[in-house]
């Protein structure tokens, strides 16, 4: 089942020029945009999340902050070709490129590889609603579909829906063209994207890679993707760890995006860039959950990640989904050295962006030499001191798992 990747080679020197370092972070969530805004809010003890409980009742979501798209997507024409999901991803990618000093540098952009973790874009809800309403009084539903879709659909909407067109838009807007790959598959896509990008750098295949994802939850179809299995939490909002036994399935979603610039250490040093942190081992797996393998899989991944001794700040991307969150909690609780912070309590679940977001928060803590206060005082315990390493986890709400270790640069 596991063991896709061989464990890190113990013979390898602890620091080599092909080490992977993080030199750019682009974040957007209900908390704001950029590492500074996120740091300020997340380190405010007792910070209360931004919630929207009315618009999609009975579901609560964490909405997007106000964003001036022009700041990262200069051309109106480009903005018009996208819906919010692609705009959000393109925007967050631009923030990361800016942060790494790569944006606008032709040489660096044309040689930059890219791995995007993506789902799909927004459907036209109004057209869908018209078709569904008409289906109540018609038996020739397939004909109805042809009739309405051929006349009502906006031709370019298709391009705003295609999974690989988030990467396509990043190439068009930010000129990142070394290579472009899109991984699909919820949180697991985000894990694989970071894992593959890091493997490319370690092996000398890439010098710098843009990696990340975005999720736009303010659209009924995006909620439907969870709710077809009853995954969404209903009723009053609660922190991630406290949703067991509440009405619904435990997931509260949020709009947001996270992109990272991963870079070969030598490449970053040669161009004199600030390094947030080193990205250590990234491991992933696929537990056969119906056969009860999730707990043992998470435990095995922790072992594979070669965790350092002593207290370890752990940024968890736990979704709140009942079964997966309970399994993750059980395994993390069994490791008393781990001081866990489930950031989705404050941002909501951002699907494909969960793992890149967790890695970003881990890198910020390492860089600033401080942990985050507890996000949920009833469950999480304080962490004192300056973290030298921080663990990031992403246990999928339905399938796929991964984690990564971020270390001081």
């Amino acid at each position: 089942m596991r063991k896709l990747k061989k464990p890190p080679d113990p013979q390898q020197p602890p620091m080599s020029s092909h080490d992977v370092v993080i030199t750019g972070i682009g974040l957007v969530s209900s908390l704001g945009e950029g590492p500074d805004a996120h740091w300020q809010k997340l380190t405010q003890p007792g910070f209360q999340p931004v919630l929207e409980a009315e618009r999609f009742a009975p579901y609560t979501i964490h909405p997007l902050p106000e964003i001036d798209w022009n700041l990262q997507i200069a051309k109106r024409g480009d903005q018009r070709q996208m819906e919010t999901w692609q705009r959000l991803g393109t925007y967050a990618a631009g923030l990361a490129l800016d942060d790494a000093g790569i944006k606008g540098n032709d040489e660096l952009c044309t040689t930059m590889d890219m791995v995007v973790a993506a789902g799909g874009g927004e459907r036209d809800e109004a057209v869908d609603a018209v078709i569904l309403a008409a289906s109540e009084s018609r038996n020739d539903r397939d004909v109805l579909l042809n009739e309405k879709l051929t006349t009502e659909l906006r031709p370019t909407l298709f391009l705003a829906q295609l999974s690989n067109l988030l990467a396509g838009n990043i190439s068009i807007v930010h000129k990142v063209t070394g290579s472009s790959r899109t991984f699909m598959g919820e949180e697991g896509a985000g894990v694989s994207a970071v894992e593959t990008a890091a493997a490319r750098i370690r092996s000398g295949q890439s010098t710098h890679v843009l990696v990340g994802g975005a999720f736009q939850t303010e659209h009924s179809d995006m909620l439907l993707g969870y709710e077809l299995a009853g995954y969404l939490h209903r009723g009053p909002w609660k922190p991630v760890w406290q949703r067991q036994g509440s009405e619904g399935g435990g997931v509260v979603t949020g709009s947001g995006g996270a992109f990272l610039v991963l870079e070969q250490r030598e490449h970053a040093k040669n161009r004199g860039r600030k390094i947030y942190a080193e990205l250590g081992p990234v491991v992933s797996g696929r537990a056969r959950r119906r056969q009860g393998e999730l707990n043992s899989e998470i435990a095995a991944l922790l072992k594979q990640a070669n965790l350092p001794d002593g207290d370890l700040l752990t940024i968890s991307a736990a979704s709140g989904g009942h079964a997966a969150t309970a399994a993750e909690k059980a395994v993390l609780d069994a490791n008393p050295a781990l001081a866990v912070r489930a950031f989705s309590t404050l941002t909501g679940h951002m699907k494909e962006a969960q793992f890149p977001f967790a890695v970003a928060l881990a890198a910020m803590a390492v860089d600033r030499g401080a942990g985050y206060p507890v996000f949920d005082a009833t469950v999480e315990r304080p962490f004192e001191g300056a973290p030298n390493s921080v663990l990031a986890t992403a246990i999928g709400y339905h399938q796929f798992e991964g984690l990564g270790l971020v270390k001081a640069a």
């Binding site: 809800e125 539903r141 879709l149 391009l159 699909m184 993707g225």
Partner: protein
């Protein structure tokens, strides 16, 4: 004994199993017989009514048990069928493959049949609110799983016993080639000694057809379906939407030789380059496609004069074929007029996410069988595109190396270089 490392000191990657399904049939034997006799799999659409549609033909796969069960189920069955053929040919345990899985598959959405059925199972409220309320009462996961982007690969991982977290990917029309590239790279990095790369696409729904139609991408030559896909012809008017799957078992040459496996071909090189010009059109100077071809040649350690045959992307759209000609003639210079270049899509249509894998499978068979499948429907050559397209009839030829092109919407270009023999 053959050299086990390539020109850059990386493990050489061999192909030890090939599987394929297209509208021409299931498996290599049926497909190859049809392909080399110039038979087309393009036919009138019968899966759904064609009222109001400008395009009423396709290369759908209508003969599998899941053909009428929706995109997710059909894509799984296409992938499973091709992978089973490939893994069996490789002589590996089809329930315990033991290497990673890379799946190129279409983005998923809730099928309209399910949307209608959920919606009409209730009367309260309307639109999205009703769907959400019905959804949370569902007791089965079947419909849910058709909407999860990782579910097809998850099922395949169970079925074949692949290792680790399977990667599902999309680079649009280049996806199948990217799945192969990811497998090649994992072996070269020493992460595994074998990988299963699959491209599968069973997503030719009415909505998909209409979406491409609204972008004016599809042929509307409905009257004689088998004549509609005519790459490099003057009267080409768009691609023909199609379904299919291709699967390769990739293995380090070292591991394959050690276990006495039959080597079906070598994956010599992969190259890619993204386009930043436009969402559906490529840069007018062809530079991204040119860079992708050159990157593949460099990765393979081969010069321009060492490619024997090009398996073209050849979609039959006015734009692609023109750009592909421009790119190839820039890379290969004067030699381009005498190099055989054919398009499988003239017979099977454009299998989208599967195309790169299906065409890699056919490229490998071209070398093994010493027969080049033709570009059919080449009755009115485009005078602006002077190429030896292997018109209308197969050609016997010794082919030692193939370049296979895949150029996608969204500007994702991937090229593969394959060889018959290790260096």
């Amino acid at each position: 004994m053959a050299n086990l490392r390539d020109h850059m000191g990386r493990p050489i990657v061999a192909v030890t199993g090939i599987g394929v399904v297209t509208s021409l049939g299931i498996g290599k034997a049926d497909n190859w017989a049809a392909l080399t006799s110039g038979k087309s799999g393009i036919h009138p659409i019968t899966r759904f009514p064609v009222d109001h549609l400008n395009t009423r033909i396709s290369g759908m796969v209508d003969f599998l048990p899941s053909s009428s069960k929706g995109a997710s189920h059909l894509t799984y069955e296409l992938a499973e069928t091709a992978a089973h053929e490939a893994v069996s040919e490789a002589g590996l345990d089809s329930g315990d493959f033991g290497g990673p899985l890379f799946l190129a598959s279409p983005p998923v959405e809730l099928d309209w049949a399910d949307r209608f059925s959920l919606y009409n199972s209730d009367k309260q409220e309307a639109g999205a609110e009703r769907l959400l309320r019905v959804a949370r009462g569902l007791k089965e996961l079947d419909v849910f799983e058709t909407t999860q982007f990782g579910s097809i690969a998850d099922r395949l991982a169970d079925r074949f016993g692949t290792r680790g977290l399977p990667i599902t990917l999309s680079t649009a029309c280049a996806s199948g080639a990217t799945a192969i590239q990811l497998g090649v790279e994992a072996i070269r990095r020493g992460e595994c000694d074998k990988a299963l790369s699959i491209g599968a696409d069973g997503s030719a729904t009415a909505e998909a057809l209409i979406r491409f139609s609204l972008l004016s991408a599809l042929s509307t030559h409905n009257d004689i379906p088998e004549k509609a896909s005519k790459p490099f012809s003057k009267d080409r008017d768009g691609f023909v939407l199609a379904e299919g799957s291709g699967a390769l078992v990739l293995e380090s040459l070292e591991a394959a030789v050690a276990r006495g496996a039959t080597i079906l071909g070598i994956l010599r090189g992969c190259g890619e380059k993204a386009d930043d010009f436009h969402r559906t059109r490529s840069k007018p100077d062809g530079s991204p496609a040119i860079a992708a071809v050159r990157a593949a040649l460099a990765d393979a350690g081969l010069g321009e004069d060492e490619i024997d045959y090009v398996n073209a992307h050849g979609t039959s759209t006015p734009e692609n074929d023109k750009m592909e000609h421009l790119s190839l003639s820039t890379v290969f210079g004067e030699r381009i007029g005498s190099m055989p270049i054919s398009s499988n899509k003239s017979m099977i249509g454009h299998t989208l996410s599967a195309a790169g894998a299906v065409e890699a499978a056919f490229s490998l068979m071209t070398m093994r069988e010493s027969v080049i499948p033709p570009t059919i429907n080449y009755d009115n050559p485009d005078p602006a595109i002077v190429l030896d397209v292997v018109p209308n009839k197969k050609r016997d030829a010794e082919v030692g190396t193939v370049l296979s092109n895949s150029f996608g919407f969204g500007g994702q270009n991937t090229c593969l270089v394959m060889a018959r023999e290790p260096v």
